[in-house]
Symmetry: none
Subunit: 403 residues, 2 copies
Amino acid sequence: MHSRMSLLHSLATDNEKKMVLLVMDGLGGVQGADGLTELEKAQTPLMDRLAAESELGLLSMVDVGITPGSGPGHLSLFGYDPLSWSIGRGILEALGVGAHVGAGDICARGNFCTVGSEGIIVDRRAGRIPTEESAKVVKKLQDAIRSIDDVQVTFYPGLEHRFVVVFSGEGLCEEVNDADPQKEGLPMRWAVAQNEKARRTEEIINAFIKEVWDVLNDEHPANGCLLRGFSSAPHIPSLGELYKIKPVALATYPMYRGLASLVGMDVRDAGETLEQLFHAVGTYWDDYNFFYVHVKYTDSRGEDGNFSEKVRVIEDVDRLLPKILDLRPDVLAITGDHSTPAILAGHSWHDVPLLLWSPYARRSGAAEFGEKSCAQGNIGHMQGEKLMGLMLAHSLKLNKYGA
Amino acid sequence: MHSRMSLLHSLATDNEKKMVLLVMDGLGGVQGADGLTELEKAQTPLMDRLAAESELGLLSMVDVGITPGSGPGHLSLFGYDPLSWSIGRGILEALGVGAHVGAGDICARGNFCTVGSEGIIVDRRAGRIPTEESAKVVKKLQDAIRSIDDVQVTFYPGLEHRFVVVFSGEGLCEEVNDADPQKEGLPMRWAVAQNEKARRTEEIINAFIKEVWDVLNDEHPANGCLLRGFSSAPHIPSLGELYKIKPVALATYPMYRGLASLVGMDVRDAGETLEQLFHAVGTYWDDYNFFYVHVKYTDSRGEDGNFSEKVRVIEDVDRLLPKILDLRPDVLAITGDHSTPAILAGHSWHDVPLLLWSPYARRSGAAEFGEKSCAQGNIGHMQGEKLMGLMLAHSLKLNKYGA
């Protein structure tokens, strides 16, 4: 365990205080022609009022200049150094389609492909078959293949030619090379164990692929599959054990529910809309004392490069905020997992605005919540992974260090 | 030695410049209803004038969200990473009652207790006997017991049933378990060495306890003692050797004199009042070039939860400041060892305001010394342990690093 984490662990105590971490995905932005960022442009009377009573700052999720993926961004928000703890791409893709990857399971990213004569991979993406067609193929496979040699097999459909498969059984090992020739026109490259421990997993994977090919023999163009990124769920110490809290995740997208479950949060039904998401906080209010609430659409509109729609999502969140404020949380942090400026239409390296409200917040005297007021805020620039400890401090859940 | 410390050590040179580190214990605060913290509320014309000519910043003594005890807070101010260097609870308690713990000595926290028939510990605190009565018992013991088997024994009275004992002699070892059954109604649990090296210390401690019980045989309720927290003075490199300075501590409370002596400062008489403390700086001005001046009452009033009295102490310090300014120090730092906001009536995790004056200070252009102006100051957020090096720099005592 790393030193800040073990320090916090040694100081943590339980109490009745309740914390809310409201994450607007990709919140941070860059100004448009009038000099205002998405957050600054948005009419957010409630967040502005909160800002006046809050500590403000800017979070660096990984390091200066580094653009975080959703995995590292969230690990940092949850208090884990994202350079020490990592979540494999296979796992993240699995979480993204809602797959459950338990301890000891191995998951992989699958492509449907077109196999030609003598096992030559003619098209690695099976002509990018439509998502609906791909889902039908997945169903056919799941009906035909339930297990390979006592190892249970679970399929999850993805977008276009993509799917995810999870292998559940004893003695599996992720140290297996991709079953994918990488280039088209080459013969199939089968899975190869990287060491003796992974030998059985190699055999199961290759037997599985052959069975898929058999089942799909009469299909076209998706008459085979490739598998990449074999990975098991990472061993991450759970938030509850680390900090003596009872955390719950409320998120409308599977990837974020999955990320939260990897760090030991309970995952409860948050519905599908923003309204349902905010309503869910009240539904579970009595059962938990740490609420991770994830708003996806700020990031989605940023990824679309749509400045004004990102502004609108932020305004929607401000309008729904009373559903949280009326519950009277003891600590409320509002931030993002990374920036997604519309001007870049993608994740960026820019630090993320943070508002931290508690009765013990040292006020910054700001008039609004925005990148500029946060840059002037009393928290200053802070590593994202320190936020969790700061929230614990404001909820009076940490003992004094040393006499 | 740790890397920043060894870097500073390698660059340090001697000169005639004089530095003052004025520590207002628990200085940092949190705003009241009018938005002003204790420091901001205080009328401090002199500190405000200094702030305009100073570098300002906020110090984090341990890490974000961590509430420092007095030990870690001071270690950080003195330039030691408080997560690498630590001062045991036994030592701190010993320092608090003014005990001298030299190299090789072992100290312990003592309780007077009530011993029943057959060595059962009936009351671990001897009915919490009054401090004056306890002091009489300590005197009786010191008169009767001077040494055990060539090991010198020194008693120090504490509050109520508490006292401190220091063992001074050759070959002592702190690795001995507590001589305390922890619960009442159980037979005495005698000291036990944790290893062969500590065997003699175990014997001396148990012989000592038996002798105490003999001397107190006719007393009631304090007819015995328990000993806990055996510890020797930590081996901390001295400030003088590290940085080629001649440091002195001026403090009216024993714990802070003790902390300073652990890092190799001379300790001189600072009287009992704030006036005497500030006067003492002039008294010893010619003898030293680093002055640690400790004001206790800011913390005391904060611990009382008394906002207005903490304000008043800060105003008193401002009024007495000419006693230091008239000596024309080359570098003057004014800060705290941690925050003690009246609203929390205890130590807190909030960063500590820092004012650093020297002819070479890069001015922040602030109008006053307060948490908000420090948050905007040109030093920004800084680890407390870096202050010592910054003071050395401003006193031109550090050579250039590299050609």
